[in-house]
């Protein structure tokens, strides 16, 4: 198995674990039971059933997941396991706004609406990098640590070629993170009322 396959499967599996932990509200269980359930879920997600594992099936649909999704999924697992919130409301809101704006910029044009293709910028554009640097420095200045963490993780993963993709966008954002951000930003009455620190 190549390193990019392993990393891709890890990401899909982590998303699966976050989904399970959040769906069953793991944090309501006793501490030992939480770890037992997560261990069982990890075995179910990563161990192949026949030819494919659940993580491989998820990866078949979602592709490799961005660092935004992995950070959110990891934080969700952490919160459900320990009962402690890793990402504060201000950080989460800021990340969601940034993801929503990036999605609005990227996806409609990537669908072929115009000749302009922002996705192509992710293959290596000085302007794109500079814009991302400005956003990251602004986030650092405002002490929005999660945005800074996501950008650094995405940059490092891109530089070492962690995924099959050579496009920086794929390390920063994916449709799942975008949908999550949009749902989180909707007014509370638009969706079912959720706890303030709901996991993805």
């Amino acid at each position: 198995m190549s390193a990019s396959d392993a990393f891709g499967l890890f990401g899909s599996g982590l998303l699966g674990l976050a989904a399970v932990a959040t769906a069953i509200r793991l944090r309501r269980l006793p501490v030992r039971a939480r770890y037992a359930v997560m261990l069982a879920a990890a075995l179910a997600v990563f161990v192949p059933i026949g030819e494919l594992s659940i993580a491989a099936c998820v990866r078949g649909v979602t592709g490799d997941l961005s660092m935004s999704t992995l950070v959110l999924a990891g934080a969700a697992c952490f919160a459900q396991l320990t009962g402690r919130t890793l990402i504060g409301l201000r950080d989460r809101q800021a990340l969601c706004w940034l993801l929503a704006l990036a999605a609005a910029f990227l996806y409609p044009f990537a669908l072929g609406w115009t000749r302009f293709d922002p996705y192509a910028l992710g293959y290596g554009s000085i302007a794109f990098l500079t814009a991302l640097l400005v956003i990251t420095l602004a986030a650092w200045w405002a002490r929005l640590h999660v945005i800074v963490l996501v950008v650094i993780a995405a940059a490092l993963a891109y530089l070492v070629g962690a995924y099959e993709s050579r496009n920086l966008w794929d390390y920063l954002i994916d449709p799942l993170a975008s949908v999550y951000a949009l749902v989180r930003l909707l007014p509370p009455r638009t969706v079912l009322q959720q706890p303030a620190n709901r996991s993805p």
Partner: protein, 385 residues
């Protein structure tokens, strides 16, 4: 570490990460123009006129479609196509067969890729297989690109790559190309790959999720997408075919899926594929069907296409002496006055390849049940001018 120390450490991490990103972009090789067309080096043939046609072997698949071929060593062609119980079925596999230019016969077909094989090596679910296209990279290796679908219909497609260093006898495991930010779905292939002078491969692709449009992917030596250029946009163009004439100049054709009149679309570049003209309709009809094109050594441009606006019952060959500005119909491969018709009168998805001797080979779907191979030489074509 104090909070202040952590803050400055995070700034240092940002600086290091972006230094790496800028270094990567600045040191990336410039795109370069198109590699010289291989047909330019081919010698003119003095053979008498030759035109022959035959069906490729098919002993197992009820439905076959989308042939592609490349010349390989030893005076041979290697063709690929997909076949199964029906298009989109889970039993669809990619087949291959080898044609001897001297003996003029095709070997029995064999399976190269099955759905299960792709699923196992791609380490993700695969529901069905689709179009293959074959070409060579800058190292001369045979590269087989093929479409697979994990979820949904063809709009959920992705492209995969297998490489052979022994002319198609054995292959590397397939690897996924990443070309779309939407879960990497909705990227398909039909047009022949081409080479850039810097060693990159240009792969014409198209997307079918909500929009229908074409792009030219740039792949590095390892077959990973490192850039792309949009050929069209909107909802009415797909299956681009790119034909370079020089390092800077190329013409592209696309299948048309918009409002009537139904015509083949054309685009041009004069800067090595960095910028492309707005797609325009040619005078040639197109019933929302694939086309194929090739540039001959004397500069004549060939186009195999369905010469009708509404059906795929007529497959013809057009010639252009001015690189696609004007066209003349040179021959009808299939149609009302053509050879014995197929049970299903559909002749589609042509592929053109010119061998070292200058002979032209056209492969296409014949009635959805067989792949047909037509071979003709320059002398025959001269008689059609």
């Amino acid at each position: 570490m104090t909070a202040r120390g952590q803050r400055w450490a995070s700034l240092a991490a940002v600086a290091l990460a972006f230094a790496g990103l800028y270094f990567r972009v600045i040191t990336a090789l410039p795109p370069g123009g198109f590699a010289p067309p291989p047909s330019a080096a081919r010698a003119a043939s003095t053979a008498p006129p030759l035109y022959e046609a035959q069906l490729l072997p098919n002993t197992s698949a009820a439905s076959v479609h989308s042939a592609t071929a490349a010349e390989i060593s030893g005076g041979r062609l290697r063709a690929f196509w997909y076949g199964g119980s029906r298009e989109g079925a889970s039993d669809v596999a990619i087949y291959t067969s080898v044609y001897s230019l001297r003996q003029k016969d095709w070997s029995p077909e064999s399976v190269v890729v099955t759905r299960e094989f792709a699923q196992r090596h791609l380490r993700r679910s695969v529901r069905k297989l689709g179009n293959p296209v074959v070409g060579r990279d800058s190292k001369g290796r045979l590269c087989l690109y093929f479409v697979s679908v994990s979820v949904g219909g063809w709009a959920g497609s992705a492209v995969n790559l297998m490489v052979s260093e022994d002319e198609g006898e054995t292959w590397s495991p397939p690897r996924r190309l990443i070309a779309s930010p939407f879960f990497n779905i909705s990227t398909l292939v039909k047009g022949a790959p081409l080479l850039f002078s810097g060693g990159a491969v240009g792969l014409p692709v198209y997307h079918e999720l909500l929009g229908k449009f074409g792009e030219l992917l740039r792949l590095d030596a390892e077959g990973r997408a490192i850039g792309k250029t949009r050929l069209s946009w909107g909802q009415s163009s797909l299956q681009p075919v790119i034909v370079p004439r020089s390092e800077t100049e190329a013409v592209g054709f696309m299948r048309y899926a918009g409002d009537p009149p139904n015509r083949i679309l054309i685009v041009r570049t004069g800067d090595g594929g960095v910028h492309w003209s707005r797609p325009e309709k040619t005078a040639l009809p197109n019933p929302n069907a694939a086309i194929a094109s090739a540039l001959l050594s004397d500069g004549a441009l060939l186009l195999a296409f369905n010469n009708a606006e509404e059906n795929r019952e007529d497959l013809s060959l057009a010639l252009s002496a001015d690189f696609g500005h004007t066209w003349r119909i040179a021959h009808r491969f299939e149609g009302a006055s053509g050879p014995a018709p197929a049970p299903v009168p559909e002749y589609s998805y042509p592929w053109i390849v010119q061998d070292r001797d200058g002979d032209v080979h056209v492969l296409y779907t014949w009635g959805r049940s067989r792949i047909k191979h037509v071979r003709f030489n320059r002398a025959w074509l001269e008689g059609k001018r």
